[in-house]
């Protein structure tokens, strides 16, 4: 069944390669920015608030931002996930946050919040890419 869509939600022609790169880079740097840039204001704001809140919750729950350790594949994958959220990650690193407290009851929850926020932002980046490609 066809549904009504607003002008901003209608599929558009594929963007130039430089614009695709810009959308993806911005979407990584600031969660939701890729959608905001393309006129999807509501979605962009939801992603911005929810993913930033999720990452901040992970830090508050004493989770750890994993380093890139080639010797431990799971830590390495966790490190990639942590970095998916962009600016909040960079701010946390600059503030020396995310050391993690292994003995805290909330430590594993904190890790899960941190990694999930990054992984969800990867999905948000892909969605922004699809919109820029005119697929959505």
């Amino acid at each position: 069944m066809a549904t009504k869509s607003t002008t901003a939600e209608r599929p558009r022609a594929a963007a130039e390669p430089w614009r695709l790169a810009l959308v993806c880079a911005l979407a990584w740097l600031i969660p939701g920015a890729g959608h905001l840039l393309q006129g999807r204001r509501d979605k962009g704001l939801v992603f911005l608030v929810a993913l930033t809140l999720m990452f901040a919750s992970g830090l508050w729950l004493q989770g750890r931002i994993f380093p890139f350790e080639w010797s431990d594949p799971l830590v390495f994958l966790g490190a990639i996930a942590d970095r998916g959220v962009g600016l909040p990650y960079l701010i946390a690193r600059a503030a020396d946050a995310g050391a993690g407290t292994v003995t805290a009851a909330s430590y594993e929850y904190g890790n899960t919040f941190l990694m999930t926020s990054g992984l969800l932002n990867f999905l948000v980046i892909l969605d922004a890419f699809d919109i820029a490609q005119g697929r959505k």
């Binding site: 509501d42 929810a50 809140l53 909330s106 899960t112 999930t116």
Partner: protein, 62 residues
């Protein structure tokens, strides 16, 4: 100074389920009504699954 971290595992799970449901519902649906419906369904499924799996694991000691 940030507020003290609560010790409720259930609360952590509810917060996690809520945030993930919001993001997925927003990502998957375009209409507000569909987003709310999907988000509420997903959030409920998270909670029910957590309680069910919690009881299933109950007989197994760590």
């Amino acid at each position: 100074m940030p507020p003290a971290v609560p010790a409720s595992h259930f609360l952590f799970m509810v917060a996690y389920a809520l945030l993930v449901s919001i993001v997925f519902a927003t990502l998957l649906k375009d209409q507000r009504r569909d987003q709310v419906k999907t988000g509420v369904t997903m959030f409920g499924a998270f909670l029910v699954a957590a309680v069910v799996f919690g009881w299933l694991m109950y007989p197994f000691p760590l």
